[in-house]
């Protein structure tokens, strides 16, 4: 590859990845060519040791993405996390394939967990709602007490469930982001 071809390809790649300061970046590589040529290297030699423009553009993109993820580490924002995961999956279809089956399983488990804790919570309200009629049928003091304690018990279980699920979901999302971050770093290496 010649210098012109390399720079043109790099420019195209950077543009398609919406990298900022493209002319500054290209100037760095132009300077690299100039110095290498002064040191007696040919254009094909130089481009060969630089690596592929697509790989280099990927590295700039990677850094850009990682900077964004790093910002979210300070305060966790659900919408931002979901947005980033979406963008990363679109940028690296590979991730989508790797994450697809485990993703479905984890998503199913999370949904099941959330439904269960919400169901237990609703059950508490259900019992509370039906308590008057239950008491009418067999209105002993102990039945009433049992009904109320069951309500409180289920209600507590529901709250514990919801809190646990919130905790688990948050950590899974954070783990997913870390994985993607690692994955993007990996792409950068030769």
């Amino acid at each position: 590859m010649t210098k012109q071809e390399f720079l043109r390809q790099l420019k195209t790649e950077l543009e398609s990845n919406q990298i900022r300061n493209i002319s500054d970046i290209l100037a760095d590589y132009e300077e690299h060519f100039n110095h290498a040529q002064v040191n007696g290297k040919s254009e094909p030699e130089i481009t060969a040791s630089l690596g592929l423009p697509v790989t280099i553009a990927q590295a700039y993109k990677t850094d850009h993405m990682i900077q964004e993820i790093k910002n979210t580490e300070n305060k966790f924002q659900w919408s931002l996390a979901i947005n980033i995961i979406g963008r990363l999956i679109i940028l690296a279809p590979f991730n989508f394939i790797v994450l697809f089956i485990p993703g479905i399983i984890i998503f199913a488990l999370l949904t099941a967990g959330w439904s269960m804790s919400l169901a237990i919570g609703s059950l508490a309200f259900g019992i509370l709602w039906n308590l008057p009629s239950l008491l009418n049928i067999s209105s002993t003091f102990w039945m009433g007490l049992a009904g109320i304690s069951t309500t409180i018990g289920f209600f507590g279980l529901g709250i514990i469930g919801v809190l646990t699920m919130f905790f688990i979901t948050k950590h899974i999302v954070l783990a997913l982001i870390s994985y993607l971050q690692w994955n993007l770093k990996f792409v950068m290496e030769k």
């Binding site: 500054d24 690299h32 110095h35 290498a36 280099i56 900077q67 870390s178 770093k185």
Partner: protein, 105 residues
Amino acid sequence: MNAQFKKGVLELCVLTKISRKDYYGYELVEEISKVLEISEGTLYPILRRLTDEKYFDTYLQESSEGPPRKYYRITKLGKESQKELLAQWFEFNGQIEKLISKDTL
């Protein structure tokens, strides 16, 4: 030490070299690629990121023997980061050393 590790090593090399003296891009790439097998083109993104993170500042210098050179100079923030990475590196090295020497005994 984990996934950050590999990223950190190259970053540590770049930071350490530039903490000792100012380098221009090509000079630094040459020195590092003499020792480590890397795609030379991927060092510039690191230089740019570290500059963006205010670890380096840059200045342009004309040279009598060739094209103008964009020099990288370490900042106070960069020095702090270099020290931290170096400490982590030694800690990690020490741990691995322990592990390996036990295993080989």
